[in-house]
Amino acid sequence: MSPREIAIVSYASLLAVPGEPQRDEVELLLPVVTEAVARSGIPKRELGFTVSGSCDYLGGRPFSFVMALDAIGAWPPIAESHVEMDGAFALYEAWVRLQCGDVDSALVYAFGRSTQGDLGRVLAQQLDPYTLSPLWPDDTALAALQARALLDRGRVSERDFAAVAARTRGGDADELVQRPYTVAPLRAHDRGTVADGAAAVVLAAGDLARKVCKRPAWIRGIDHRIEQHQLGQRDLTRSVSTALAGERAGVGKGPVDVAELYAPYTHQELILREALGLGEGVEVNPSGGALAAHPLMVAGLSRFGEAAERIIDGSANRAVAHATSGPCLQQNLVAVLEAAP
C-alpha cells in the first residue's frame, strides 16, 4: 500500500518573550491555533482530526492538555487525541490517522511553558527511576557527557560548537569559545534558551491540500526510532536512530535545500547532520532552531512548521524536519518535505 499524499498547509507559532505578560497555556495557544487554522483556509469545523503534544511536568500538575482544550473550542465534539510527547510526534499520529483514508485534514498543536520550573531538575524525572533519577543529573550534565565523547572521537572542537551557536543565535565563535563553562565541555551558549511557546500545524491530504495551498509541503517520508535509555549502552557520538529514521524517510534520495533540526545543544546539531548525511551545502536551522528558543514539547513541531514554511514560501524545494526526545537524542523523528507530491 503506497502512502497517501499528505502535506503541511499552514503553520503558526508564538514564543513568549521574557518580560511579556504571563499568558497561561490557553492564552499562549489560542492565537496560534486561530492563525494556523485561518491560514489553512479549512474551516475549523471541517478539520477531521485534532491531536496535541504537551507534558504535565513542565507546570507540575496533571492533565495540562485538558485545560488547554479551551483554546480550540472543541464544540461540537471533535475527534481528538493527545501524546505526552513533543508535538512532532502528534504530527506523526495525525499523519498515520490521515493514511487511514477516511479523513482529509488534521490540526496538530503543541504547547510548553518550560520556564515555570528548573528544567534541569524537571528533566531528571525523565530518567530511569531506579538507577539514574535518584542522582538528579540535569540535562546539561548528560549532554556534556555526549559532547565530551564527540570531542574525544576527534574531528570536532569546542570552537565548532561555538560556531553552531554563533550561526544560529548570533555572536562570534572565537569570542564565545573563550567564555566559562557551565558544565564542561559545554558553555551557556551551547544550550538552547529555555522558552515558553506554542505551535500549530494543519495537515491536508491530496486534492484538499492542493485546493487550499499554492505550494503545500508534501510529506514524502516520515519515520521515527528510539534507542537504549541508559547512556552507557549507546555510542553517544552517533545517532543511529536518526540515521535509521532518516534512511526510512528517504532523506538521501535527493538534494536537501534546508534542514530544521531539533538540537537542544550545539554539538547535537553536528551529530544529527552526520546521521542524516547533510553536507556543507545544506542550510541548517535558518529559524535559529531550539538554540535560539527552546520551548519543550513545541520545539519539534516548530521544526516541522519552519521547514514547511520554506517550501510553502517557495524558498526551498526539499526540506528535512527533525524532532528529538529524551536524554542525549534518545528518540528521533525525521521527515522529508517536498514541493512536488
Partner: protein
C-alpha cells in the same frame, strides 16, 4: 494590561514515591548494600551494569548475574561547576560514564576529582561507598581516581 499584571505564585511539587524494584534491580541494590556490584549477563555473554531486567537481544527475562569490579574506566565525563541539590556531591565534581572491570556497558555516576584537570577519558576510578548503605544507587557515594 501591563507586563506585571498577571498574577504569579510559587508552587512546589513534593512527594516521596515508594518504588518496588523487582527481583533484578532488587538483587543489584542488595549487592550495593553489601558493598558488591552485580551486573546481568545476556545469552550472548554481554554484561550490563546496572543490570537489565531482560536480555537486550532477545527480551528474555534476566536470570544470570555476574559480580563486576569495584573499579573501572571513565569512558566520558563532564564537569559540574555548580552542583545542584540532590546531586551526589556538594562540591564541584565530574559526571562520568564508568565501565567497571568485567562489564560491557558503562554506569553513570559522579567522580570526586577535585578539579577538572584531574579528569581524563580513559582514567581509572574506584568506588567510594557511603558509610551507611540502604540498598540504593546512592549507596555509591561517588567514584574517585584510583591513583591520586
Amino acid at each position: 494590561m501591563a507586563a506585571t499584571d498577571a498574577l504569579t505564585a510559587p508552587y512546589v511539587l513534593e512527594y516521596t514515591y515508594r518504588r518496588s524494584v523487582g527481583p533484578v534491580l532488587g538483587r543489584f541494590l542488595t549487592g550495593l548494600r553489601a558493598g558488591r556490584i552485580e551486573g546481568s549477563r545476556s545469552a550472548a555473554g554481554k554484561v550490563q551494569v546496572p543490570p537489565s531486567e531482560h536480555d537486550p537481544d532477545t527480551g528474555a527475562p534476566t536470570t544470570e548475574f555476574v559480580e563486576v569490579g569495584l573499579a573501572g574506566v571513565v569512558t566520558t565525563w563532564s564537569w559540574a561547576t555548580a552542583p545542584r541539590p540532590g546531586q551526589p556531591l556538594a562540591q564541584p565534581f565530574a559526571w562520568a560514564l564508568i565501565k567497571l572491570d568485567g562489564a560491557d556497558s558503562a554506569l553513570l555516576h559522579a567522580v570526586d576529582a577535585g578539579a577538572p584537570e584531574k579528569m581524563k577519558t580513559g582514567m581509572r576510578v574506584k568506588v567510594r561507598w557511603q558509610a551507611e548503605r540502604t540498598g540504593a544507587i546512592t549507596d555509591i557515594a561517588c567514584f574517585e581516581p584510583e591513583a591520586p
